[in-house]
Symmetry: C2
Subunit: 183 residues, 2 copies
DNA sequence: TCCCTCATGTAAAAGGTTACATGATTTA
DNA sequence: TAAATCATGTAACCTTTTACATGAGGGA
């Protein structure tokens, strides 16, 4: 099973969805930690179904195209559960901005500062999105503290996103300030 | 030009190196933000040479195999310089632990806590490596504050690594604590 | 004796992105 | 009229990983 397969099972364990729904979720906000295009999702759903981990039902809609709504099976739930606590290697970071940063000494400081200000803005935007999500989740009350609640899992994951964006933003600002100091 | 090509140019702009040297550097500590295996590096070096961005000289060694030492050309330096301040999309995070975290509600809390304690240990280790590197860099003195010094670029990049590891470590500890609280 | 380091490559497979393909409805 | 959303697929291409291939020298 591919990691993408588990990503899809993880979404379907929360609620049934079409390939289209899943592709939107794998853009944002779940896209924060795993992304996939529809061209990858549709064949993967077919594979999951062939293995008996999901099933689908065609739902006819008026004035909109028909859709295939996928549901996780018991076998799918069991497979997902087994995977969750299985050891994983820490994620490999693959960050082109950091690669550029490493060669920053070759650049014109003013042009480089602009690059970091741009990224600072991006992370500020992303942070606002996550903060809005946090407010929504906190309205759920005590559920976000219950380890067996899907809201707990979402809340804990979101905290990582918040920390990541805040720290990345601050780092960008700090680098830009260093480059703008023309003393 | 591929991103890997720029990664190699970025290393060769600092000092000439063989494919083998580059492959070690792209494991650690540069591997923090970009990784590559030797099977990817050797063909890429050939491509860079075909484009005139690097050249190589065969260095014979006693009691060790011969090696090809690559040097960046003026054209290579110019290409790299142009790329550094060129806009980039923020990195896409692809973190399997976060994917598991999102499905944490299906897991047994004790088993899940063990997973996070494991990652906490890993990030603590990584942090120690970066802190040692920081000490080495800080010994360079004022150079790490000069935007045109390669040590400045290394220092700034390292700061991001330090922040990343510290925050990831703290988040893992926080998640583990939540899961261990059996009230 | 077996594994690790040094050293350079190629080939096959898997994972991921971009482009091709179609078509209705709604919004600007 | 043009673009966006909904909806599902395939094909070509690029990137990355894993495996194959070879061989000397040093250390456990």
């Amino acid at each position: 099973m591919s990691t993408l397969g588990y990503a899809l099972l993880g979404l379907l364990a929360r609620e049934p969805a079409s390939g289209y729904d899943l592709s939107r979720q794998l853009r944002a906000p779940i896209g924060f930690f795993w992304r996939a295009r529809h061209s990858q999702i549709y064949p993967e759903l077919a594979r999951l179904e062939a293995e008996g981990l999901v099933t689908h039902a065609v739902v006819e809609q008026q004035e909109l195209p028909d859709k295939k709504v996928y549901t996780i099976t018991e076998a799918g739930q069991a497979t997902l559960q087994g995977w969750v606590t299985d050891p994983v290697e820490p994620a490999v970071v693959r960050d082109e901005l950091l690669l550029k940063t490493f060669s920053l000494w070759l650049a014109e400081p003013a042009a480089a500062a602009a690059l970091f200000r741009e990224h600072e803005r991006h992370h500020a935007e992303q942070l606002r999105v996550y903060e809005a999500l946090q407010q929504q989740l906190e309205a759920k009350g005590e559920e976000i503290r219950q380890p067996t609640s899907p809201f707990f899992a979402a809340y804990v994951t979101l905290q990582r996103g918040l920390i990541y964006e805040r720290q990345y933003l601050e780092w960008c600002r700090w680098v830009a300030e260093q480059l703008e100091r023309t003393d």
